[in-house]
Amino acid sequence: MTVSLLPVWAVLTPVLGLCALLLCERWMRPERVAAPFVGLSLYLSLSMTYEVMTSQAPLVYALGGWLPPLGLTLRADGVGVLLMALTALVMTGVAICAWTPPGDATARSRFSFWALLLALWSALNLAFTAQDLFNFFVALEMLSFAAVALVALDGTRGALIAALRYLLFALAGSILYLLGVGLIYGRYAVLDLAGLREIAQPDTVTLAALALMTAGLMAKTALFPLHLWLPPAHAGAPAPASAVLSALVVKAPFLIILRLWVDLLPLPAAAPQQIMAGLGAAAILVCSVIALRQQRLKLMIAYSTLAQVGYLFLMFPLMPGPAPWQDIGWTGGLLQLASHGFAKAAMFLAAGLIYEALGHDRVAELGGLARRQPVTLAAFAIAGLSLMGLPPSGGFIAKLLLLTAAVETGAWWIAAVILAGGILAAFYVFRALGHALADGDPPMAPVALYRQGAVLALALCALALGFVPLRPFALLAIGRPLEALEAMP
């Protein structure tokens, strides 16, 4: 492992940006204050990815020199830097898209948007690098508060109700999670993942604690049947915020679930994994069908998020080996996470630009878009490719890997669900595309080309993930198995 301050600065740079926004509120436009911090955070995340890839070792830092179990460490492993790079690219795309706010944006919504965006970024980087169960809790709370406020940013009654429901779900999830953390502490007096890995036993208290934590995190990641809060929240937020919420925010609790079941208590595939996969399968089937019936583009995309989150949970029973990170199920699941992140961010941003151009996002009235906004529509189509799992796209590779893993482990029902989910996704994506390709000449407001370009770039990132080789991806195994820190770094 490499001792490095980079993870610390990745968490704190957006916090510095938040402070700068508060200090400069009266003198400078918020986007100008935030821009250097966006750039710096992007640079930090990409250079961390580069460091981890070249040194083939995780970046670790023990804060204050205090080692666990007393102290806290930040540790950027292969999975962590993949998600941080995803976050950085999506955030940059969102920042470019939101650079010129719509004409009716007020001082309140502009300032709040940039401040909350930076807050989310800090929380995400913390969630991806933290190693301590209570540190995760702090990251989740930062994430929830910023996300709830973003949902309510438009100030409409619908948005406020959606934000309230979201907050109540998030609070319930937090309390369940915290109760689990308490039981773990009472059982082991250790909260550090690596330390727990060495001593954790699959006894009643530990399993109950993990179940409580997992249930709480499921509410926050909106896994079926705890998903009801998500569609109104993600559809009601301003489009750049929806992009961040759907592409990134729901992924953080998922990653923590993954760390609990792979790092903290690695168990051979058994009932818990099957239950999670079962709920994931239900999410894919039920929510895809509901997505088909949506009249509004943003709601359709939000239901699609629920289905795509379902795919992530399919990976749990597909990693049966003693070293799950060597399995193709692991690679498939994480590639699905990354490619859905890019594709969904592009899709929500595209929906936002379409809304700005047309003044509505009713699926049935999208005619004429193809001629007037070809770049936006191309981005939408490419992102749709990844959601359906058609080649060439990250979604294709991810779903192919999951499918292969399902066949190899003999989990035929999972294979069937993956195929059915792809077909359903094709239905709802093509339905929207078909309407957009239809003739029509509605009045349209112009949308700057650089913003359409940013959306296209994100969609192309999802496409580019389709060119990684079809085997366990070395980056995703860096830093595994988790080892306890033994010396003062």
Partner: protein, 311 residues
């Protein structure tokens, strides 16, 4: 601690919780919550966690209760998220609650004996830090990142609260509270309590290094006094977009990060406290944090801005 003392605290807690849930009047439930918070703080004292008791009394019971009471006074109609529960749902919920209580109780009884502990590990480095209270050491040294980010959570909550306000009130002061002239009794009480309270807050802040107390407890006390002064019309509520408000909110995290950076150069690690000056540095950072906490708490209780800045 004897069983009798535990019982005399546990029974009112349970009765209070049942009253809060069962009573039909929201206002009664809120006053019940205040009493509940008081007994909860006493329970923390009985558990030998005076630091937590102070925080619970100030924030858990006091500030939260005040916030909800103010909310109840301001709400013109209740916001409902569903239908009133029928008898069937009530029975099901009761069974579920009983089941959860039993399961949780069983899990607690299943915990290992003797309990694993980090207590010894927290005591050992105390001399080098120059502080005597291990809880403070956990908050400011071993788990300093949690504390730093917890202040950021408060900041995010303030930003969120402002984001949830109206456009018309952006950058202004919160709605006045209460509406109309404050009663002479309240003004008298405020004039009496505020100086005494401030002295006690300084004391709490100062002893926090070695005895129970510290920045949170002192900050909440100052925040409560400020709120009292606002209620009595003796002090203005902070202007949410004001120059000084922004500075006060940012100074805590910034001072913490600067101290952490000094730690890299002076003690070889981010957020490490260099031995000879550990205590003065910790106190300086805690003071900056206290400023941020006070302003954040007052803003959070006072609510979103709704009044124009230029009065």
């Amino acid at each position: 601690m004897t069983e009798l003392l535990a019982l005399t605290l546990a029974l009112p807690l349970l009765a209070g919780a049942l009253f809060i849930v069962a009573t039909a009047s929201t206002r009664a439930a809120l006053f019940g919550f205040f009493a509940f918070g008081l007994f909860l703080a006493l329970a923390w004292v009985a558990l030998d966690a005076v630091d937590v008791a102070l925080t619970e009394a100030a924030i858990g019971g006091g500030a939260t209760g005040l916030l909800l009471l103010r909310l109840n006074g301001r709400m013109r109609h209740p916001v409902s998220l569903g239908e009133p529960a029928g008898p069937r749902l009530k029975i099901a919920a009761g069974l579920l609650a009983a089941l959860v209580t039993l399961a949780l109780g069983a899990l607690l009884l299943a915990l290992p004996e003797p309990a694993p502990s980090l207590a010894a590990a927290t005591v050992e480095p105390l001399p080098a830090l120059g502080i005597g209270n291990p809880v403070t050491a956990v908050l400011i040294a071993y788990r300093a990142l949690d504390t730093l980010l917890e202040i950021v959570v408060l900041l995010i909550a303030v930003v969120g609260l402002r984001a949830l306000g109206t456009d018309r009130g952006w950058g202004g002061r919160p709605v006045p509270w209460p509406e109309g002239e404050p009663s002479p009794a309240l003004v008298f009480l405020a004039r009496l309590l505020i100086p005494a309270g401030l002295v006690f807050a300084v004391y709490l802040f100062w002893v926090g290094a070695d005895a129970p107390g510290g920045k949170f407890q002192a900050s909440t006390l100052v925040a409560a006094l400020w709120l009292l002064a606002i209620m009595a019309g003796l002090a203005p509520a902070p202007c949410s977009g004001g120059r000084w408000t922004g500075r006060a909110l940012a100074i805590g995290p910034l001072a913490f990060i600067v101290a952490g950076t000094i730690g890299i150069a002076a003690a070889g690690s981010f957020l490490a406290w260099p031995e000879p000056v550990a205590k003065p540095m910790i106190i300086a950072v805690e003071l900056a944090l206290a400023v941020s906490i006070v302003v954040a708490l007052v803003l959070l209780v006072a609510g979103p801005p709704e009044r124009e800045t230029g009065r």
